[in-house]
Amino acid sequence: MLIELRDVNKTYNNGQPLHVLKGINLNIDKGEFVSIMGASGSGKSTLLNILGILDNYDTGEYYIDGRLIKGLSEKQAADYRNHLIGFIFQSFNLIGFKTAVENVELSLFYQGVSRSKRHALAMQYLDKLGLADWASHYPNEMSGGQKQRVAIARALITNPKIILADEPTGALDSKTSEEVMQLLGRLNREEGVTIIVVTHESGVANCTNKIVHIKDGVIGQIEDNRQHSASVFGTSTIMK
């Protein structure tokens, strides 16, 4: 098992204690393409933050590749994030004053990879995502789909064990959303990257091979969706 969650609980204590995750048990294998689906307030974002080592959990155990992720120091957490996890965000979260290639390079910069090597690698990944011509453009000169592809390149470049995508199509139109999801699917199929997508859109979830429903902090149904027939709106569209 690549990811193993055992009875993970999380409570926010901002005035009124809020029990967000109530005993999550989840296993995700290497090479899976999973979506975590739930309405807003279901706890899916919290679960994503815990999966991404961006947040702590209170009780339970979380293993990545057999490594227990608990009570890490900031430095260690940063190190794991850098090496194990690639993030794709809803609003792309590219750094505005850096060009596409500089954005992609950034995670390698923090790994201490030498300048020329990380530049070459970043160019290689941009090329793979069809953005080689856009390498020296700034994010505000690119379309949403292009920005998200830059973000995907940045997530892939460290060769992480898991790609975590938080509403990766949230800021895109339906056509681009489709493209991005197909891209993620292709990466999963061809390169065997483990991808976890958090979404509230059934159309997006439908593109993945396994749908984990979360509701009120509890994992509900886990659907096998290799037929991509989960969406009530049909198999080929993402509704916007």
């Binding site: 961006l54 947040d55 809803q90 750094i95 390079e105 950034l106 201490g112 030498s114 300048r115 940045r154």
Partner: protein, 414 residues
């Protein structure tokens, strides 16, 4: 923090991105360091200008001259005039062993020195050879009065700068030529370029200095002397000897030993102390103003960095999410702060040095004025190091705020 070209680019990028803000913030530091260094250089120059007035004077000198008594004593009425005389020299030497030099001066004012058709106003000072210990001559040509001149009553003189310029307009070494002062011809043996303004008995550049023994005869002064100049041995405080010296004079000239106004004593020690205090105070003020201004500048930097960090919450959050450690963020913010202070401060140092140079060239164009208005090299280096340190301090608060940014904040700040 990993250091390579991009680390520097990160820093310059973020400073250049907000050009006007960086400029305005940097100006505070720039102005602060400029003020401090300019005032320091200016203060040092001013001190030199003022010290020029005291130049060539021994710092532990007391000069005495007689005056009317103000107290009755042993049947004598007050208001009696008395005179220092030649015996007082030996008396002082023997009874006050702390004194190194005791030398008498007589002078004759408002004389005219003549050489051919040139003439100039002069004061004649009659001194012994050891007068050079009191007021050190800066000989441009020749030598000072020596003991043989004194013993043989030679008609020789050392002339001051203005006398030399006035009656030897063609310049050159005047030694050997004869000049007339009053009705007597003297052979010039030296030219004294001492230009201090503190000379007792008129300024040194208007003096014609002749041997004392000769002066006594020419001006019919008998054994009376005008001034008694004494210097203490090193480590002796002249102030502490004043009462004893007054008592010695009082006993031999029959006036009240407590009559302070019967003997005028001018003590250079006190004057130097006064000047030193003045400049210590001035320096304190300079540091206060300079450091205050720098501090204001640094607080400005800190403040702006704080705003910048707040603005960049998302960016910092992204960096954290993709693997920057808190240390990476810390060093980035602190390095930005150092870069800003150091760049602005270095400009301030350069500007201050240039302005001091300008001041110096203006001042040195004024006749009779010359002073170094420069800060020394190490002051500049220390200032630069201080700036780096201040940059770190300015960056501390913003950096700790930046470090407290959690990666989740990046996503929350939508």
């Amino acid at each position: 923090m990993r250091f390579d070209l991009d680390s520097y680019r990160e820093i310059t990028d973020s400073l250049v991105r907000n050009k006007s803000r960086s400029l305005l913030t940097g100006f505070g530091v720039f102005w602060g360091i400029f003020m401090l260094l300019f005032l320091m250089g200016g203060g040092a120059g001013l001190k030199q200008l003022v010290s020029k007035n005291f130049e060539g004077f021994a710092t532990n000198t007391t000069i005495m001259f007689s005056s009317e008594t103000t107290k009755p004593w042993q049947g004598f009425k007050r208001g009696r005039y008395w005179n220092l005389n030649y015996t007082d020299v030996e008396r002082m030497k023997q009874m006050v062993p702390e004194l190194e030099t005791v030398t008498p001066v007589i002078s004759s004012w408002r004389q005219t020195a003549v050489n051919g058709t040139n003439s100039v106003n002069a004061n004649v000072k009659c001194v012994k050879a050891d007068y050079s210990k009191i007021e050190e001559p800066k000989l441009r040509f020749g030598r000072f009065i020596n003991e043989s001149d004194e013993a043989q009553e030679r008609k020789v003189c050392v002339i001051g700068r203005r006398i030399y310029e006035g009656i030897f307009p063609e310049g050159g070494d005047p030694c050997g030529s004869f000049i007339k002062v009053g009705s007597v011809y003297y052979q010039v043996i030296g030219v004294d370029y001492n230009s201090g303004n503190m000379s007792i008995n008129g300024s040194a550049d208007q003096a014609v200095v002749i041997p004392l023994s000769l002066g006594q005869k020419i001006y019919h002064r008998g054994t009376n002397i005008d001034l008694l100049c004494v210097t203490g041995r090193s480590g002796v405080r002249m102030t502490s000897l004043e009462d004893r010296m007054r008592q010695i004079l009082a006993r031999s000239h029959n006036f009240d030993p407590t009559d302070k106004q019967a003997v005028f004593m001018i003590n250079t020690e006190q004057m130097f102390a006064l000047m030193d205090n003045l400049f210590t105070g001035l320096n304190f003020l300079i540091w206060l103003v300079g450091l205050g201004t720098i501090l204001a500048g640094i607080i400005g930097v800190s403040n702006i960095m704080m705003v910048t960090v707040k603005e960049r919450t998302t960016e910092i959050g992204i960096r954290r999410a993709i693997g920057a450690t808190p240390r990476d963020i810390l060093s980035q913010i602190i390095l930005e702060s150092i870069a800003l202070t150091l760049a602005a401060g270095s400009l301030g140092i350069v500007f201050a040095v240039q302005m001091l140079r300008l001041t110096q060239s203006i001042v040195n164009h004024i006749p009779d004025m010359s002073a170094q208005f420069q800060i020394d090299f190490w002051t500049a280096i220390i200032a630069a190091l201080l700036l780096t340190l201040l940059g770190v301090i300015a960056g501390l608060a913003p950096a700790s705020r930046a470090m407290s940014i959690k990666p989740v904040d990046a996503m929350r700040e939508e």
